[in-house]
């Protein structure tokens, strides 16, 4: 396939723009849709102490009106133009995005520029969205088995600083104490144009889109962006353990967390870990599926991957290699861990086979093609790669770079995941709880 050529513009106010037009205009079934995203370089690792969950809460407020738009107008204009929208908060960034018929491109740019310039931050909307966010947390964490496992539960075991260890969804008491002035300070600190990347992908003309970007974002005033603090902290030097009692879980579970190489500065070593994770648990023939699910069997399911939020290359350093498994009460957690370690030692000693490497390569290439066939995924991956790596091109290079990872590098990655620098979190069911409906 022909990779879409990327175009870049940086506005005088510092806003970085990535343009990725469809490469094959007029191909069979090519749809006239366009994706627009804005990635701000602030995630929940940057939120202030005493304000856990604030970055995510603030994301909600960015949909609540601006100088030109009343509350609810943003949703109505996007959807009333035939589009869909959302936003999400990650460790190191917050994104906002729409997919619309391409005739609505200018409207999407207007909406994003308006809230970048002058969002309306009000007490009434803040209190309303605190309630909405609390319901989101009840839905996804408090009322659900394995809620927040492992992304909220594992970091406090593995990490020691507030930035890396705290709950990014937030404690209810912190959320309730958030003030409108906190919002103003957060906006002025982190939502400057020079702290953002605007991405447009899909069916559009580059020159026309560039003109529209200038028209709508050009007079968003420049504001100073302070240099980003490092969130680095030393690797653990001992085994770290934690236990969480889950009132809704029917079976025990375990999560192992290891520190990864720096995703930006040590990209090749990081990619070796992506391959390692796939060799361990991707597909029926993978090492741990074979051993732990089918041969022995120890677990109901097992999954390994890079990143805390379910996707690799989604955060800067420090990042986490995560392995999770749900097992029956008859199986000791120690046996689960021992089986993982045995396979890690085997890969560390002999590396994966050529056949294991090639299966990972083909599946990765295919899954990236498939993922990027969806305009929203393409838009968001380009934006986050530009923000975190400074290179949106990375997403189209990944299949080749994954294919270049050799057995020795995977062996080295496995060797680095040593038990004495690892966090182990055990989730145990609450023995007093029935779990299901009466």
């Amino acid at each position: 396939m022909v990779e879409p050529p990327l175009h870049r513009v940086t506005l005088p106010n510092g806003l970085r723009v990535v343009l990725a037009p469809d490469s094959a205009q007029g191909a069979s079934g090519q749809a006239p849709v366009v994706g627009v995203s804005v990635h701000y370089d602030v995630g929940f690792r940057s939120e202030p102490e005493g304000r856990t969950g604030f970055a995510h809460l603030f994301e909600h407020l960015m949909f609540q009106g601006s100088e030109s738009l009343e509350k609810l107008a943003h949703f109505r204009h996007v959807q009333g133009s035939g589009g869909t929208f959302n936003g999400s908060t990650h460790q190191d960034y917050t994104d906002y995005f729409q997919v619309l018929p391409s005739a609505a491109l200018e409207r999407a740019l207007f909406l994003e520029a308006d809230r970048m310039r002058a969002p309306k931050l009000t007490e009434e909307n803040l209190r309303n969205q605190v309630d909405v966010v609390k319901e989101e947390i009840r839905l996804n964490v408090l009322n659900r088995p394995y809620g927040g496992f492992p992304w909220i539960l594992l970091p406090p075991v593995l990490y020691s600083t507030f930035a890396n260890a705290h709950n990014g969804y937030g404690d209810f008491t912190d959320l309730e104490q958030a003030t409108v002035d906190d919002c103003a300070a957060f906006f002025d600190t982190f939502y400057a144009p020079a702290n953002a990347v605007l991405t447009i992908a899909g069916d559009f003309d580059v020159d026309h889109a560039t003109e529209l970007v200038h028209r709508h974002f050009g007079d968003v005033p420049a504001r100073e962006v302070r240099s980003r603090p490092s969130f680095a902290e030393p690797f653990p030097t001992e085994q770290l353990t934690g236990v969480h009692t889950d009132p809704h879980a029917p079976l025990p579970a375990i999560a192992l967390g290891h520190r990864l190489p720096d995703p930006v500065g040590e990209l090749d070593q990081y990619l070796a870990n992506i391959v390692l994770a796939a060799v361990l648990t991707d597909g029926d023939a993978s090492r741990l599926q074979q051993r732990m699910v089918y041969r022995e069997p120890l677990v109901v399911d097992v999954h390994a991957g890079c990143g805390l939020m379910g996707a690799p290359l989604d955060a800067r350093d420090p990042d986490t290699f995560t392995l999770t498994a749900i097992h029956t009460p008859e199986v000791d957690a120690e046996r689960v861990v021992a089986a993982v370690d045995a396979e890690l030692e085997s890969i560390a000693a002999s590396g994966p086979t050529a056949e294991e490497l090639s299966r990972v390569t083909s599946r990765w290439a295919a899954s990236l093609h498939r993922e990027h066939d969806r305009v929203i995924s393409r838009t968001l991956d380009l934006g986050s790669a530009e923000l975190i790596h400074g290179r949106a091109e990375l997403i189209s290079e990944l299949p080749r770079r994954i294919a270049e990872v050799g057995a020795d590098e995977v062996a080295a990655a496995a060797k680095a995941l040593t038990p004495d620098a690892r966090a182990t979190l055990r989730v145990q069911p609450d023995s007093n709880s029935a779990g299901g409906a009466a």
Binding site: D22, G29, H369, R374
Partner: protein, 455 residues
């Protein structure tokens, strides 16, 4: 962390130039209709193949009607779906995965009360391999004793995990409440039944029910629809049998009535699940109902979401959607709310039902919903996987790609009067449903509200 000196919220929210006007929409660009072949193969299988998109991939959706009246059917069907891709005479489980991996492929089987589905994808250069693995499983799945035993045991554990999910509990209770013991309600098999399923049961079910006649295979991607017909015909020719795949018996018409409260110990949130009789996709009033439904709760800019989320903060999400079975359609409305506001949310939901039926959507509401429906169709079918799933869903209703390409015009022609008429289906008396939550916390509120049967 944040700056000590910053502007106030009021200063941030205004600029010297003041508010700006919303720019108009540009000229709509036309969708290039995909090249599609829709044909029946000699073995009775319907094949729909479409060339779509630019990535070198192909998506496959095989949908086999798979209904069964026997109370043990759901357990057998579930074990069959879990083991159909675990080996044949030609390939063991590892070889199946290895052959698929070589072409960047994935293939999974899932079953529900209506159908057995195979969902797959591969690099388009590997379509032959994907079809061979699929054909091998369809004609020669071995159901080895150890694979069946292993999957059966894991399934029992997975069912425990599934039934601890509030949404699964709520769905199961709603199904029972709506349809009693109709086979449609048996979506999650009973662990005790699964424990009794042996290899012979699964082999017998496969031979009897995994049939090409009545089934549909959809292929979408970087393929030539014409030449692919020959390839599929050749590779799937051995999949041949008399008989026709079994359709689910018709559902009874849904009647409105009391909501049932289901107790869930220790719940901090409640699941509200309401349902009413709707229309089938093939009904000429369907496009109007689609617009009425969006206005009610079918998208974010709807009455229900603006009320119980954006005004009152009772929920993270509220939704109104359709569920289609052959010849039938129902309306499903859901929201999850904190225990403290559960009854209040149900009250608002009922209020919005009544309001939609009595105060029909305004011209602006109709226009917004219309644009959203048209745009959503465009977006959701712009990817290969989206188009494949859509064509497969339509085929189950007896519809094809021509229905799909004509649907935007159908939506454009809907009048406000037709929407108002469709909105009558939302009369509060048409709905019934369940609330799953902690009865100790929400029982009194719901009793006071009325129309709720308590445990």
């Amino acid at each position: 962390m944040t700056q000590a000196t910053h502007r106030s919220a009021e200063e941030i929210g205004r600029t010297e130039a003041g508010p700006r006007p919303l720019p108009p929409l540009g000229e709509p660009r036309a969708l290039r209709t995909p090249d599609v072949v829709d044909t029946e193969l000699p073995n009775g299988l319907r094949l729909i193949a479409a060339r779509h998109g630019v990535v070198p991939m192909v998506e496959a959706r095989l949908r086999i009607p798979f209904a069964g009246e026997d109370p043990m059917h759901p357990a057998r069907a579930e074990v069959l779906a879990e083991t159909v891709l675990t080996g044949t005479a030609a390939r063991d489980r590892v070889q199946v995965d290895t052959d698929l991996a070589a072409v960047g492929g994935e293939l999974h089987a899932v079953v529900d009360p209506e159908r057995l589905s195979f969902v797959g994808s591969a690099l388009s250069s590997g379509l032959g391999t994907l079809l061979e693995v699929l054909g091998d499983a369809l004609t020669g799945a071995a159901y080895a004793a150890d694979e069946v035993a292993g999957e059966r045991d894991r399934l029992v554990e997975r069912l425990a995990v599934a039934r601890s999910q509030p949404r699964v509990i709520a769905r199961e209770e709603l199904q029972r409440h709506r349809y009693g013991d109709h086979p449609f309600v048996r979506e999650v098999p009973q662990a005790a039944d699964v424990g009794q399923v042996g290899p012979e049961d699964v082999r017998e079910l496969h031979a009897r029910a995994v049939l090409p006649r009545g089934a549909t295979l959809v292929l979408v991607g970087d393929i030539d629809p014409d030449t692919v017909v020959d390839e599929v015909t050749r590779i799937l020719a051995p999949w041949d049998a008399a008989g026709t795949a079994a359709e689910l018996p018709a559902l009874p018409r849904l009647q409105g009535g009391d909501v049932r409260l289901v107790h869930r110990d220790g719940a901090v949130q409640s699941q509200l699940r309401m349902s009413a009789q709707g229309l089938h996709r093939t009904d000429e009033r369907y496009p109007a109902l689609q617009i009425a439904n969006l206005s009610f709760g079918g998208y974010f800019s709807s009455r229900l979401v603006e009320n119980i989320r954006e005004d009152k903060g009772y929920t993270y999400g509220a939704h109104s959607s359709f569920e289609f079975t052959r010849g039938n359609g129902t309306i499903l409305v859901d929201a999850d709310t904190a225990s403290e506001v559960t009854a209040a949310a149900l009250l608002e939901m009922r209020y919005e039902f009544g309001r939609l039926a009595l105060v029909p959507p305004t011209a602006a509401e109709v226009e917004s919903a219309r644009q959203y429906a048209i745009g959503g169709l465009l977006t959701s079918t712009s990817s290969q996987s989206g188009l494949a799933s859509m064509l497969s869903t339509l085929a189950a209703c007896g519809l094809d790609h021509r229905w799909l390409s004509a649907h935007p015009d159908r939506l454009r022609e809907v009048t406000a009067e037709q929407v108002a008429e469709a909105a009558q289906l939302y009369a509060p008396t048409s709905f019934t449903g369940v609330v799953v939550g902690d009865a100790a916390k929400i029982g009194d509120q719901l009793r006071a509200l009325g129309g709720v049967v308590l445990p």
